[in-house]
């Protein structure tokens, strides 16, 4: 399985990469929504996108709407991973087509739990 990690912070990409690597995912990184779209357009076969909300050039919400508007990526699972914790923002993201929503700060277990709910869990996280 392959995860596309979309966050303008290299630090956050690194944290998420460590977590999903432990679960057996290969990863590709993108620093904003536009870069992520470019990677998908170039043919990356991703199963999962982990998406920050606030990013320069293209934010996570716009990325979700763009992906959901394109049938080529209808099987792609979209998970927001963001500090945006207002109820209205969560509702907006889910209505736009995000499957799950994780609020920072998160534990590795929280990510695993969400991936299990989405049927994307490959391996157990070491204690």
């Amino acid at each position: 399985m392959h995860a596309l990690i979309i966050d303008d912070s290299r630090t956050m990409r690194s944290i998420l990469k460590r977590i999903v690597h432990e679960l057996g995912f290969e990863t590709t990184e993108a620093a904003n929504g536009q870069e992520a779209l470019d990677v998908l357009e170039a043919g990356l076969q991703a199963d999962l996108c982990l998406i920050d909300w606030n990013m320069p050039l293209m934010d996570g919400y716009t990325f979700v709407t763009r992906v959901r508007a394109d049938q080529r990526w209808r099987n792609l699972t979209l998970m927001m991973v963001t500090t945006e914790s207002e109820h209205s923002q969560i509702v907006r993201a889910l209505a736009a087509g995000a499957h799950e929503y994780v609020i920072k700060p998160f534990t590795a277990e929280a990510i695993v739990e969400k991936l299990e709910l989405l049927g994307l869990h490959a391996k157990e996280v070491p204690a």
Partner: protein, 156 residues
Amino acid sequence: MITVDQPAVQDVYSVVEEVWNTFLGDGVPILPGARDLPDDAWYSAITVTGEWEALILIAMPLALAGRITTTMLGLPEDDECSTEDLTDALGELVNIVGGNIKSLMPGPSTLSLPLVAQGAVTTTSDLVEVCEVGVVWHDEPVLITISVPKLAGGAS
């Protein structure tokens, strides 16, 4: 009607404690306590605009900023991190702390992208500091301050 326009110190402390324990948890607890920062401290800032408006600042000495950066990036403790890494890690830290503080306040409001710099930060004269939380981690000080526009803070 009571208008709440500043978070409680204890709530801010709880946010900081949760962020530290989740992303920086190495068995060393953060402790409450205010100490002076060195002149070359690093500052990370984020602004909130909308229903609640504020400037949230986190300041800490360089050594601690380096420790936080290597921890968040999963690098060996004695690795020297680049200024770029440090800027990125401190920016993400204030983004997470700021986002969680924002969630305590009336919304909707929006977070800016973070700004990170070394050296004392002077806020504009139309802001007033309404909350200050000092903590100590690895025997080094961290100072979190929240400033709001004077009218919202009720100050003259």
